[in-house]
Symmetry: C2
């Protein structure tokens, strides 16, 4: 190959050095028809040899595609939420995206409104090809906004009439849990839930309230330890429940502490379970029964849908209940 070439070269340099046209180089690079196999291979070999990649902005400007997917997470500093979930989700997404040469642009927002502003800017700037939307709310403004902006999007975790989605059946999660508790003889269960505005939370609550069998009370929180503790304390007055179900790790930890302070022995006097599994559930004593899901694979599925285009697919996160000592006692 020509010694003049290096990774700083432009396609015109490469074309010149190889005695072909820039068009030919571009066709080879983008796997487009229009050049002979021989030419293509010669070009690709030269490119591979000097370890060259095309200028990102130039490519994006001319073909209009950015090869990047955006993800914004709206979370307040207080309600840190489930960090493990997001890290696993992002890692799963990213693994699939990078296989196809896509990048993941990550942003945090302090509110849903700020998140919407970010989408507007991204759309104006042609900053991303598409976005993944998480934590759908009731009356969520995002699907409509994204539709209006013409920004491709996939709703992660919920169904949407406006946009493709990778849908998880969250009802199953609550049903599995209540079935388990029912088998243990519980007649009165308290569900210490997260933000009522979140669709998956209200879905779980609905299942819990409609369910025949154990009587379920729902206490909504903002995911802080304070509100979890308050919810548990409230339930402790009067004839409290024999089992508590918490929405995630943070609530579980806070709830268990409050129960202990009140003198309850977890797993004996009262059952405790979490709808989100984690290392912590395993590590606590007693270990906490939880619903385990493959969040990494969920991230992969969202990325696949994003790259595939318009198709909506139901997705089986195959939640499975992992029984641990915190719910082993049978009540009657």
């Amino acid at each position: 190959m020509s010694p003049k070439l290096n990774r700083q070269s432009r396609v015109s340099d490469i074309a010149k050095a190889l005695g072909v046209s820039p068009t030919a180089v571009s066709f080879a690079l983008n796997d487009k028809p229009g050049i002979s196999t021989k030419t293509r291979e010669r070009i690709l070999a030269a490119i591979a040899e000097i370890n060259w990649s095309p200028h990102y902005a130039a490519r994006a400007l001319s073909d209009g595609r950015t090869s990047t997917i955006g993800l914004v997470i709206a979370r307040s500093p207080k309600a840190v939420g489930s960090e493990a979930f997001f890290m696993q989700f992002m890692t799963g997404m990213q693994a699939k995206l990078s296989q196809r040469g896509y990048g993941l642009l990550f942003q945090v927002a302090t509110s849903l409104e700020r998140e919407c502003v970010i989408y507007e800017q991204w759309a104006d700037q042609h900053r991303v090809d598409a976005v993944a939307v998480v934590d759908l709310h009731r009356d969520d403004p995002r699907p409509r906004l994204l539709k209006e902006l013409g920004l491709k999007a996939v709703i992660a975790g919920e169904k949407s009439s406006l946009l493709p989605s990778v849908y998880i059946d969250d009802k199953v999660v609550m049903e599995q849990m209540l079935t388990h508790l029912e088998e243990r003889g519980h007649k009165h269960v308290t569900y210490v839930a997260g933000n009522k505005q979140l669709r998956h939370v209200s879905q779980r609550a609905q299942v819990a309230l409609k369910r025949r069998g154990p009587k379920v009370e729902v206490e909504y929180t903002d995911y802080t330890a304070e509100q979890a503790a308050a919810a548990v304390r409230k339930q402790l007055t009067g004839t409290g429940p024999t089992a508590y179900v918490f929405d995630n790790e943070a609530l579980t930890i806070a709830g268990v502490q409050t129960l202990r302070e009140a003198g309850a022995q977890i797993g004996r006097d009262v059952a405790v379970a979490s709808l989100e599994d984690s290392l912590t559930c395993e590590a606590m004593s007693p270990p906490i029964t939880a619903i385990h899901r493959d969040t990494y694979r969920f991230g992969e599925a969202v990325a696949d849908t994003l790259l595939a285009g318009e198709e909506t697919e139901p997705f089986d996160l195959s939640p499975r209940l992992i029984e641990r000592d915190s719910t082993k006692t049978v009540f009657d």
Copy 2:
């Protein structure tokens, strides 16, 4: 303002509608001198009104700046490492970056070699303005590579002779911990460490081994539960230590389980502490003594250094030991 303008407009449209040149619009947009205050304000008002942002790729192509910072994390699926750490770190970085209009491009790599390939591609593509480098190894190839590539970078967590860094004094962490254990009367401590190749791990180990006072043994692991358990079991044969120090949450959890299975009562028969604090340390029973650090603020500092340019600054993550029941007993 002209009704023809909308967010799809280009600077030439805006210029035409306002009766100014594209140059004037660009100057207003980029806060450059060369236009009258009046003109500037008129342009900015028009832009604000239609909520317009310039085309990202076009701007990047012409001024050569991408306004994005890259972060690649090399982690194997097995060694999930400290998810909370990365999430907090990224969130802190992102908060600062977005204030200045910068995005964070996130990528996972399966190995250090793959990480290097990503940097090469990013450099070729002019994909990012700079990168943050985490988890520095001994004989790490990345600083030299990045220097060669001319890719701006900041080393997060370690000093570097080649590149600016936001340096944490990791020795202090181990010293604080050993001082605490010494005060509790421990004469024999085992440090269940992470990957020996990681600089912060070997630094901690060095401090531990050199330290006068308690005798410290070091067991390296790959952060998996299996190796943590093996390390603890090995120490249990013979005259085991009276205290264990674990590098992070995952190791702590696995180690505590192993100690329990061996019949030890944590906090009484044996002391346990973690060099990384987490909700889990708080939630376990007994709660685990740990070193707490403000990872979010660390991320902010790294972002600041990235944006500021070349300066290297020492950074005080103000690690503080949080004493909990797992080390409360005094040995003698």
